[in-house]
Symmetry: C2
């Protein structure tokens, strides 16, 4: 396990820029396929088979099941189906995010792929560091460096070209520590939770600081979340006719930044009503949880805490990627649910092929 040590780095900027900058799209995922079609509610009622990768007696599991029963059964806290909106962060919540956001691996791979067309990159930072294999030095340039890398590698293409880059990368690139495809590093317990919620009439959304176009090519296949239920950062896109063909072109300009305070804004802009469940793992998700769990109506806010250095990673208050510091304090104050990965999950990743 590697831990980054750049705590002074402006995490919000990195999160958003990396989000924009990188772009991975899995193809050959071996994870469980689930769809967003409502499944029979009976699935959810067999307590013994419910959320099988979760420790049966874990407080967090009990809190989740108890909340779902509370809002789906007739009673004072019943919530009609259309209002059963559940939002999930992606990096560190639905899939891993160490030693850096997976989308950053894609950005660096794109720089290496484009390098022959940019001989000047050998001498110019941050590209020179990337080409030397020193990604930490490349990232140390902060926002300007990251935005420069993002725009150099991701803008100027049509949306179809970008999608192809992502799809090709996701189908082949492997994580340096585990050797798995990145889409095989999603969390089995979370796949079960998504399916359980959908079986109970919830609509599941991703709300990520990551690039929306990077996620959309694979979220349906991997998580059962269709592209229209993925919210994330984006670069500006324009429509134009190119030789009589309608074309969407990605501009080298930051559009929406879907991190931190951008999360409730993204929810409002894209969903238009408040969620009743929010699930995150870092301070970047804090505003989303605050927004969701405001007021006295039934709401569930959950933080996943990475405590498992053996099966995954252990990090929280000091981590550069996915730092959980203020959020941990606020969870304790407000009584939000905290999942302890090491003790609450029987399995972390799905069985590989």
């Amino acid at each position: 396990m590697r831990t980054t040590h750049m705590q002074d780095f402006p995490a919000i900027a990195l999160a958003c820029a990396v989000a924009l900058a990188t772009g991975c799209v899995p193809t050959a995922a071996t994870t469980k396929m689930v769809t967003d079609q409502p499944a029979p509610v009976t699935i959810a009622t067999e307590a013994s088979k419910l959320l099988p990768s979760w420790d049966h007696d874990a407080k967090a599991r009990k809190a989740i099941v108890s909340f779902v029963e509370r809002v789906t059964k007739p009673g004072a806290d019943f919530v009609p189906e259309p209002q059963r909106i559940a939002v999930f962060d992606n990096d560190g919540t639905l899939w891993a995010e160490q030693p850096m956001y997976f989308q950053a691996f894609f950005m660096f791979d794109r720089i290496r792929a484009l390098a022959p067309r940019h001989p000047e990159w050998k001498h110019n930072e941050p590209f020179a560091s990337v080409l030397k294999g020193d990604t930490q030095a490349a990232l140390s340039g902060g926002d300007p460096a990251i935005i420069e890398m993002s725009m150099a590698t991701l803008a100027g293409t049509t949306v179809e070209e970008y999608d192809r880059f992502v799809t090709d990368w996701v189908g082949t690139a492997r994580h340096p520590k585990t050797g798995r495809l990145f889409t095989e590093m999603v969390y089995q317990p979370m796949l079960e939770l998504l399916a359980y919620l959908r079986a109970n009439g919830f609509k599941t959304f991703i709300v990520s600081g990551g690039g929306v176009e990077f996620m959309r090519s694979w979220t349906e296949k991997v998580y059962g979340i269709p592209p229209e239920q993925v919210i994330g950062s984006s670069i500006k896109t324009v429509f134009e006719m190119r030789g009589g063909k309608p074309t969407l072109v990605r501009l080298p300009e930051v559009g929406f930044v879907g991190d931190k305070a951008g999360k409730p804004v993204g929810i409002y802009q894209n969903i238009g009503r408040p969620p009743i469940i929010a699930f995150g793992n870092s301070d970047s998700d804090l505003q989303m949880l605050q927004f969701t769990c405001d007021g006295s109506r039934p709401r569930l806010c959950v933080y996943l805490r990475h405590t498992d250095a053996g099966r995954e990673w252990a990090y929280d208050r000091q981590s550069f990627f996915g730092r959980l510091d203020k959020g941990l304090d606020e969870a304790a104050e407000r009584g939000w649910t905290v999942v302890d990965m090491k003790s609450d999950w029987k399995t972390v990743f799905p069985a590989a092929d």
Copy 2:
């Protein structure tokens, strides 16, 4: 019937600004209630009862039914359910838009309601014209005037306050010609079409130049389209803590403009995959139709032509609101389906209470 005569006016700007500027939300609609939950497909197979408000022998009706059968039955043109995305313009396509966009009525009513707090408006244009009842003069100031009115009436509130203004207005305001609530001026044949598509596994979206927050409060009740499937223009919104309470505040700044070339961009940003059906009524929808019907895969593009001066309005190439000029030429060139309201619809509006 009134027709506007400001053809030189920059329609795109007005459309977007009025969209931002106005904000109406119906409450007591008497229209048919439909939901976005998939209904049994059998509904769709009884040809005699299918789309009852459409003339049974109309070419447009036949083209629609034939397309839906083609993509839902096994065969070369079969489209899997998640890809059955249908997008609809709102003003002039799902509800009427004369003598001006309904959202503009809301804007003018807000100006009148706020006038006591702004004594200076009596002497300052465009507000002075509105207060004198000369809305045409108020609109003649073009973009700057409209944006000024929009921002003065709609920004600076929280999203809850704005929603309340819209809801109150929509529950009481009536159309000057018909005396109906504005939400009673939706098109019965279109309600049937939306339900028919959903019964066949389609997800129905609104893609409008109108204000997204203006539409969302009532589209679920009136059209069966949930807020998360409504795309439109918006003003910038920020998240902040106000006295410890998470709050979304509307800024006096234009955000996304969802008109003309903004429509395919909005589709890409919010849905993330191309629709297979697009339905509009004006040149503002042209890019959405071009985008949808590009390529050789099965696609259906439809224009509604307002030809019924008796039951609704008759307007096309010369109209200020909802002008259909280039679109009509392109529909002929490309063989898109054109609905003739007068001859193809047996009913226009739903029966009033």
